[in-house]
C-alpha cells in the first residue's frame, strides 16, 4: 500500500492535550495518555496504532503542530 | 537639480527642501495650513521617483510613515495641530522603534479645533509629546524659508544618525509667508546611511528581525528604556542648536523661537540703535532645548523676556535653563487676526524691564 511509505509521529513536547486530534481521528487510534510533558500537559498517544490509516486528519486539526504523518526516510 | 533661488510659500519651500534632501514618500491628510506641502509634493515627488500618498486620517498617515521607515526608506509627513494630536501614538511608536522620518507641524491656534491662523501652541505637544511613555523626538524650529532649506540636510542626518523621528515645528505665520530661498543642488542624504543592520527587509540577507516597541519581560522593557535614555542623553549633549545675538553685555535678553526669534533680530537692532542693551537667544532645536545658550549669561543681565504665540510653553524650559538667576518674564498671544506679539508689543515690554 502507498501509505506504507509514511509513518505517524507525535511531538510530545508540543502537545497541549487539547484532544482535537482524538476527536478527529476516524479510527479512534488516539487518546490522551498519562505521560506529562515539560509544559505539564498529558500528552496524546496512539492507543491503537494498528488501526491507523495514516490519513493525516490529526495533523490538519492540531493547533500546535504536534502530530502528523510524515514520509519515511 | 542644480542650485537655484525660488520664491515660494514656506510650506512649499519645506516640500521642495525635503524632497531635494532625499524624502521619497510623503504621507499626509489635508489640514490648513499644512495642506500646501502635500499639494506641492504631489507635483514634484514623481519627478524624483517617489510619491505623495494621501491617507484617510492622520492615524493612518503616521502609521504608514512608520511602515515606510521600517524599510529603511526616508518618508515624511506634514500636518497641523489637530492632525499632530492624532499622530502622537505613532510618534511614540516610531521613537521607541527607532524609526527615522521627517515630520512637520505647521502650528495653528488651539485648543480643540482651534483656528487656522498661525500660532506656537504645540510646543508642549512637540517637545513633551502626547504619546505613550518616556520618549523624545528631535524638534527643529526654523524661522525662515532659507533656514528650512539650510536645516533639512541636518534633519535627515539627525534622523538616520540617531534613528529617530525629526519634527519641524513651524508657526503658521512663518509657514504661510512667501519669500525666496536659495536651494543648493539636490542631494539624497538618506542614501548615505547604511540601513542594512536594522531595516526589516526580509530574511534574505539577515537573521529574522522584528520590531517590538513593547516587551515580553520586565527586564526587556527596562533594557529598551535604558537604551533609549542613553540615546536621548547623547542627543541632548551633542545636538543643541541656537542663535545668540548681542547677549554679551545685555541687560535684557529676549528669547523667542520661529517668528518671534526672527522678529527679535529687528528688535535688537532697533533697540541697540537707541543705546538699549538688548540681546536675543533664538532656540533652533526645541528638543533638545539649548540649555547651553543660557550657561554664560552676562553679569549685566537684569531679566529675560520670553515671547511666544501661546500661553507660555517654552517659558518652562527657559525657566529651567535660567534656573532662578534672573527673573523670567513672559509675553504671549494666541489667536486674532495677526496672532502674534508685534514688535511694538515686545519693545514696550522690554522698556519696562530695562
Amino acid at each position: 500500500m502507498k501509505e506504507k511509505n509514511k509513518k505517524h509521529v507525535i511531538c510530545a513536547e508540543r502537545c497541549k492535550s487539547c484532544g482535537l486530534c482524538v476527536e478527529a481521528c476516524p479510527k479512534d487510534t488516539l487518546a490522551i495518555g498519562k505521560h506529562l510533558n515539560s509544559q505539564g500537559y498529558n500528552v496524546v498517544e496512539q492507543v491503537a496504532p494498528e488501526n491507523c490509516v495514516l490519513c493525516g486528519l490529526c495533523r490538519i486539526v492540531c493547533p500546535d503542530v504536534a502530530i502528523g504523518v510524515v514520509p519515511l526516510d | 537639480m542644480k542650485s537655484e533661488t525660488l520664491f515660494l510659500k514656506n510650506t512649499q519651500t519645506f516640500a521642495e527642501a525635503m524632497v531635494r534632501c532625499g524624502v521619497r514618500y510623503h504621507f499626509a491628510y489635508p489640514i490648513t495650513p499644512a495642506t500646501e506641502v502635500m499639494k506641492h509634493t504631489a507635483v514634484i515627488l514623481p519627478e524624483y521617483g517617489g510619491r505623495m500618498v494621501q491617507m484617510e486620517s492622520e492615524l493612518a498617515v503616521a502609521n504608514a510613515l512608520a511602515g515606510c521607515a521600517c524599510t529603511g526608506t526616508l518618508g515624511a509627513t506634514s500636518t497641523s495641530g489637530p492632525g499632530m494630536a492624532l499622530m502622537q501614538e505613532s510618534i511614540s511608536f516610531m521613537a521607541a522603534g527607532e524609526l527615522p522620518c521627517i515630520m512637520l507641524d505647521a502650528m495653528r491656534v488651539g485648543p480643540g479645533d482651534g483656528d487656522i491662523v498661525g500660532a506656537q501652541s504645540n510646543y508642549f505637544q512637540a517637545t513633551r509629546g502626547g504619546g505613550h511613555g518616556d520618549y523624545r523626538v528631535i524638534v527643529l524650529a526654523p524661522a525662515s524659508g532659507q533656514e528650512i532649506v539650510d536645516l533639512m540636510p541636518d534633519a535627515v542626518k539627525l534622523a538616520y544618525t540617531y534613528r529617530t523621528p525629526v519634527l519641524f515645528v513651524i508657526d503658521g505665520v512663518t509657514c504661510t509667508m512667501t519669500e525666496s530661498a536659495i536651494f543648493p543642488e539636490a542631494h539624497d542624504y538618506a542614501a548615505g546611511f547604511d540601513t542594512s543592520s536594522w531595516a526589516y527587509t526580509g530574511t534574505a540577507d539577515h537573521e529574522k528581525r522584528f520590531l517590538l516597541t513593547g516587551s515580553y519581560t520586565h527586564s526587556q522593557g527596562e533594557e529598551m528604556n535604558e537604551r533609549l535614555r542613553a540615546k536621548f542623553e547623547r542627543i541632548k549633549e551633542k545636538e543643541q542648536r541656537w542663535e545668540s545675538i548681542q547677549t554679551e553685555d545685555a541687560e535684557v535678553v529676549l528669547v523667542g523661537f520661529g517668528i518671534h526669534g526672527r522678529m527679535g533680530q529687528d528688535l535688537v537692532a532697533n533697540m541697540r540703535a537707541q543705546g538699549k542693551k538688548v540681546g536675543l537667544i533664538r532656540p533652533i532645536t526645541l528638543w533638545p532645548f539649548p540649555d547651553k545658550a543660557f550657561e554664560q549669561l552676562p553679569e549685566s543681565l537684569k531679566s529675560v523676556l520670553v515671547v511666544e504665540m501661546n500661553h507660555g510653553q517654552m517659558l518652562d524650559d527657559v525657566r529651567l535653563a535660567v534656573n532662578g538667576r534672573v527673573p523670567v518674564h513672559f509675553l504671549g498671544k494666541t489667536g486674532g487676526d495677526m496672532p502674534l506679539c508685534t514688535l511694538a508689543d515686545m519693545t514696550a515690554q522690554i522698556n519696562t524691564l530695562l
Binding site: - | 512667501t178 529687528d266 495677526m338
Partner: protein, 183 residues
C-alpha cells in the same frame, strides 16, 4: 530702504496677485521681499489681504503691523482696515468706484482712484488691481516701473497676449492717474 505694503480686497479682486507681482519685481531687482496673507476660511468670496515688505536688507520682522507705507483698498469691506493700518505719513489708494464714503485720518494721505471704472473702460473689471499697481508704483519708489512691466510680460505674455496688452495699459493708466489724483 524698506517699504511696507498692504493690498486688500474682496475675493476675486486680485489683491493676492497684486502682492505677488510686487514680490516678483523686487526679486528681479535683487531686493529682499516677504509676503504674508490673511484670508477667510472660505475658498472664494471672503476678504483677503496681501502684505508685502520690500527691503534692501534682511527682513527680520516680516509683518506689516499697522505701519504700511502704501495701502491699496479695492473694496469697501476692507477700507477701514486699510486706513487704520497705514503708518503716519503713509498713503492709502482708495478704489473710489466702489468705496463711496471716505473718512478722514490725520497724517495719512488718501488718494481716490476710480480703478474699477477705469478697468471696465480698459476692457475688464478684472484689471482694477493692475491700475492700482501702477498707482502704487507711482506713489512710492520701491520698484522701477519698467521692472513690473517686464514681470507682466513674463507672466502673461506667452499665455495670454490679449490680456497682456490690457494689463500694460492698466498699469500705465494707474501711473498717470496717480499724479493728477494725488494733487
Amino acid at each position: 530702504m524698506r517699504t511696507k505694503c498692504t493690498f486688500s480686497g474682496s475675493g476675486g479682486q486680485g489683491s493676492a496677485l497684486l502682492a505677488k507681482l510686487v514680490c516678483q519685481g523686487a526679486i528681479k531687482q535683487g531686493l529682499k521681499v516677504v509676503m504674508t496673507q490673511t484670508y477667510g476660511i472660505e475658498q472664494r468670496g471672503g476678504d483677503s489681504t496681501g502684505y508685502v515688505i520690500v527691503s534692501d536688507n534682511f527682513i527680520g520682522n516680516p509683518l506689516v503691523e499697522n505701519d504700511a507705507d502704501i495701502s491699496v483698498a479695492l473694496s469697501p469691506s476692507i477700507y477701514d482696515g486699510c486706513v487704520d493700518g497705514a503708518v503716519e505719513g503713509g498713503i492709502v489708494l482708495v478704489n473710489s468706484s466702489l468705496i463711496t464714503e471716505m473718512r478722514e485720518r490725520e497724517g495719512v494721505k488718501q488718494v481716490p482712484i476710480s480703478a474699477s471704472d477705469m478697468a471696465v473702460e480698459l476692457g475688464s473689471v478684472k484689471c482694477a488691481n493692475i491700475v492700482m499697481l501702477g498707482a502704487a508704483l507711482a506713489a512710492t519708489n520701491m520698484l522701477e516701473f519698467e521692472t513690473v512691466e517686464q514681470v507682466l510680460r513674463e507672466t502673461l505674455g506667452a499665455k495670454k497676449p490679449a490680456l497682456l496688452e490690457m494689463n500694460l495699459n492698466a498699469l500705465e493708466r494707474g501711473r498717470t492717474v496717480y499724479a493728477s489724483a494725488a494733487e
